[in-house]
């Protein structure tokens, strides 16, 4: 039968594009022949602003990149500064950083799975998920007074020590979470409709995934067991016992399952962190004149000065954020402002592969495959 090609525009205001993403679809009947993505509807110029502000002033902007999981963003930027200037961080601060980042990973995966299920037409999971998320946000609020944009991890440590009563409340949350993840698994994992929507949809092979620069759960869903926490252990991850979760299938269901597995691993990590957290000062008092790189001005003698001038140089740092590999490239010319800040955002790089994955599928499958990519538009467009 002769059919005409149909051009469909989806977005930028659409309930399942997770923000302001736009798809231009060329359809043959119901089959997607070509999927073109139009980005930039949330391009806020963070990188240019990074050049216009001082090092400390850039920190709040990192919160607003991937706003569902802001702690890893904070941490990655701070880690870049610390590597550039050779700042030492006390052990307890590293423990607190890992604690909040793993807690944030759980929150991220809850939101990710919840919105995936909502896009597929099942509203229960997002209701359940936000119930637990609210409890985690209360913990964040105890720490720094903010629910989403924290600005908590600072160069040289964290802003404040854990407040009184935080650990018992955290333990309560962990215990509840264990029960809840089991609930999620019971609700979703073997649901007939869910399986039909996810199995074999949006398949990407391991080789293609690496070539496209996929990272994080999206890569590990294709059977590549690469996790930066294992490959280049940063902070205290080399002391912790956990495994990188991966699934060989490479389809949407595998990517979803990796996220569920990662939540279990994060719970496991959090337990260890709580058990082994040392009692010590949080903010580093060591004068960072011990920098391995040369050129630290002698005027910098206190902990983290208001007028901070790192040595000239370049640094590229990356961590395993919940969505994938998050990287910060900072070029410094020795002044108070970064010369160039480049953000390697996981969502942006993961999206590269989407149009290849959905060719030959139908629009509802596009939603399913796209949902398992787990992107945030603030992170894509920056």
């Amino acid at each position: 039968m002769q059919t005409d090609e149909l051009l469909i525009n989806m977005g930028p205001v659409h309930p399942s594009t997770h923000g302001v993403l736009r798809f231009k679809l060329r359809m043959d009947g119901e089959i997607i022949k070509d999927c073109q993505l139009v980005l930039g509807y949330l391009h806020r110029g963070t990188e240019k602003l990074g050049e216009m502000k001082t090092y400390q002033q850039v920190l709040p902007y990192t919160d607003r990149l991937d706003y569902i999981s802001a702690f890893p963003n904070n941490y990655c930027y701070v880690k870049a500064i610390e590597e550039l200037a050779g700042i030492e961080v006390p052990l307890r601060a590293e423990y607190i950083r890992v604690l909040v980042m793993e807690l944030n990973r759980i929150v991220n995966h809850i939101v990710s799975i919840g919105s995936l299920l909502m896009d597929l037409g099942a509203a229960t999971m997002i209701m359940w998920g936000f119930r637990e998320r609210e409890k985690a946000l209360q913990l964040f609020e105890m720490l720094c007074g903010a629910r989403m944009t924290f600005n908590y991890i600072k160069p040289g440590g964290v802003r404040e020590d854990l407040p009184e009563g935080f650990i018992p409340k955290l333990n309560e949350f962990l215990e509840e979470m264990e029960m809840r993840i089991k609930d999620y698994e019971q609700l979703i994992n073997s649901n007939e409709i869910f399986l039909m929507r996810m199995n074999g949809i949006g398949v990407i092979s391991a080789k293609d995934a690496i070539n496209h620069g996929l990272t994080g759960p999206t890569l590990r869903g294709s059977g590549v067991n690469h996790d930066l926490r294992k490959l280049e252990p940063y902070s205290i991850y080399h002391d912790l016992d956990f495994k990188a979760c991966s699934r060989p299938e490479g389809d949407s269901y595998a990517r979803y399952m990796v996220r569920i597995d990662e939540m279990w691993e994060s719970l496991h990590i959090l337990r260890q962190v709580v058990d082994t957290m040392p009692e010590a000062k949080v903010i580093s008092t060591s004068k960072y004149g011990v920098a391995p790189m040369t050129g630290v001005p002698s005027t910098v003698s206190t902990y983290f000065p208001r007028i901070f001038t790192p040595p000239a140089g370049e640094v590229y740092t990356r961590i395993e954020a919940p969505k994938g590999e998050l990287g910060f490239y900072i070029a410094s010319d020795g002044s108070t402002k970064p010369y160039r800040v480049k953000i390697r955002s996981p969502s942006f790089c993961n999206l590269t592969a989407l149009s290849g994955m959905v060719k030959g599928l139908k629009i509802p499958d596009l939603i399913a495959a796209f949902g398992t990519m787990d992107i945030v538009l603030g992170d894509v467009d920056r």
């Binding site: 205001v13 923000g19 302001v20 509807y41 949330l42 706003y67 209701m127 119930r131 944009t149 538009l377």
Partner: protein
């Protein structure tokens, strides 16, 4: 009588000694005022509405503010808090607002939740224009209010009120769900005091 460690003595109130605050109208003017007609006229003149339709206005306003349907348009960070407000914990279903419409044609409230970039601005404006009257706009968060932290950026609009009229501004980055609820209550107050006789041209 012991209550919570404090001793409370019982008090007897002599009702005969309490004088009524309300004065009985004596002069003609006072009698007229007592009917409430003058205040109604003044209120009607204030909002350029009609005296005839003021009760109908009240009914319409009540109906409108009790089922505001927002359009689903999240722009940035604030949209996640919007999801938080809509979910079970904060629950805007108490205002009859839980039905987020995917189509602006069926919505009467728009939350501008997040940074309005230059590229998104014409879309936001189009979305607003597609909504049927009467319609309201709540600008949420520093970015939508003024540009916020991105005020210096080359690609961000400095306040959504540059392109569409805004009824309520909610500050915060992002605003807490409680702030959202407060903003919604403010909008309801605003709608409560609107007069539709004037907008329909019935007073002429």
């Amino acid at each position: 009588m012991e209550k919570g460690g404090f001793r409370v003595d019982s008090v007897t109130i002599d009702t005969t000694k309490i004088k009524p605050v309300r004065k009985t109208p004596e002069t003609a003017i006072e009698k007229l005022e007592d009917t409430g007609l003058i205040s109604t006229l003044l209120a009607a003149r204030e909002r350029e509405g009609s005296i005839l339709f003021s009760t109908i206005d009240q009914v319409f306003n009540w109906a409108r503010l009790s089922s505001l349907w927002p359009v689903t348009s999240g722009l940035a960070c604030c949209a996640i808090e919007m999801m938080g407000v809509a979910m079970a914990h904060h629950d805007i279903a108490r205002f009859g607002m839980e039905i987020f419409r995917a189509s602006p044609r069926q919505a009467d409230l728009m939350f501008v939740a997040g940074t309005v970039t230059k590229r998104m601005a014409p879309r936001v404006k189009q979305l607003y224009e597609m909504m049927p009257d009467p319609k309201w706009v709540i600008s949420v968060g520093s970015c939508a209010n003024t540009g916020g932290p991105y005020h210096d950026s080359y690609s961000v609009l400095k306040g959504v009120d540059n392109i569409i009229p805004v009824d309520v501004y909610i500050p915060g980055c992002p605003p807490r769900p409680e702030a959202w609820l407060y903003g919604i209550i403010q909008l309801r107050e605003k709608i409560k005091n609107e007069g539709y006789g004037a907008t329909w041209g019935l007073d002429k």
